[in-house]
């Protein structure tokens, strides 16, 4: 069965610090990978996605992620965080049509950015 593991439960950073959130998945087949963000009290919004091609993908708001197939990882990075990045971040994997297209989510990482 597919699973997604996010290494950090709660990360606290000061503004301008660099961010890296870890994500590992387990699935032997072709996958699509996603990072979603959930701002306090809001719904999930897509930050970025990897389908194929360049393993370094860039998303909105200065976020990027790197897909390393050999490590089954898809870590999220941002060079300099802002207070407005305070949110819950979810990594997710989609195993395709035979899985019904469902996304399997990691347990989430809460990011708190201090001004």
């Amino acid at each position: 069965a597919q699973s997604v593991s996010q290494h950090n439960h709660h990360v606290i950073l000061s503004e301008a610090a660099s961010l890296e959130l870890g994500c590992n998945y387990s699935y032997g087949g072709t996958v699509n990978l996603f990072w979603y963000v959930q701002y306090p009290g809001q719904h999930l919004q897509l930050l970025l996605k990897y389908f194929s091609g360049d393993p370094l993908v860039k998303g909105i708001k200065g976020f990027e992620a790197e897909f390393i197939k050999s490590k089954f990882s898809f870590n999220l990075r941002k060079p300099s965080v802002q207070w407005s990045d305070t949110a819950e971040y979810f990594c997710a994997v989609n195993g395709g049509g035979n899985q019904g297209g469902k996304l399997i989510f990691g347990q989430g990482t809460e990011l708190s950015v201090k001004p």
Partner: protein
């Protein structure tokens, strides 16, 4: 114009009651989903419909019954509500049942007293 809309946004009810949450998407997508987010923010798939056909039915009590009258709508009915049903329920849609991204609604926060 909201792409995936859910009603109600908040729902407070007593144990044992029956309630429904409605979801509509105007994106022209074929596939719709219900996810449950618990108090620890963990998101778990409950159901998925593809063009009105049930394609995912995870381990969910049969008190939960989804209904899709057409591919733009997916409703969730819950019978005999229990305290443990308190959560945020998110509706989502995707273009098809393949690899695409999901678009989420704003969530319906259910509180069972």
């Amino acid at each position: 114009d909201t792409a995936v809309s859910q009603t109600p946004k908040y729902l407070v009810t007593q144990m044992g009651n029956d309630k429904s949450i409605k979801c509509e998407q105007n994106l022209g997508h074929d596939t719709m989903y219900w996810y449950k987010q618990d108090s620890k923010k963990f998101l778990k798939i409950m159901f998925s419909y593809n063009n009105k056909e049930l394609i995912i039915n995870e381990t969910v009590p049969n008190r939960f019954s989804p209904k899709s009258p057409d591919k733009a709508h997916l409703n969730l009915h819950i019978n005999s509500l229990e305290l443990g049903d308190s959560a945020v329920y998110f509706c989502a849609s995707s273009l098809s049942r393949g690899f695409g991204e999901l678009f989420f609604g704003e969530g319906s926060r259910l509180t069972v007293l």
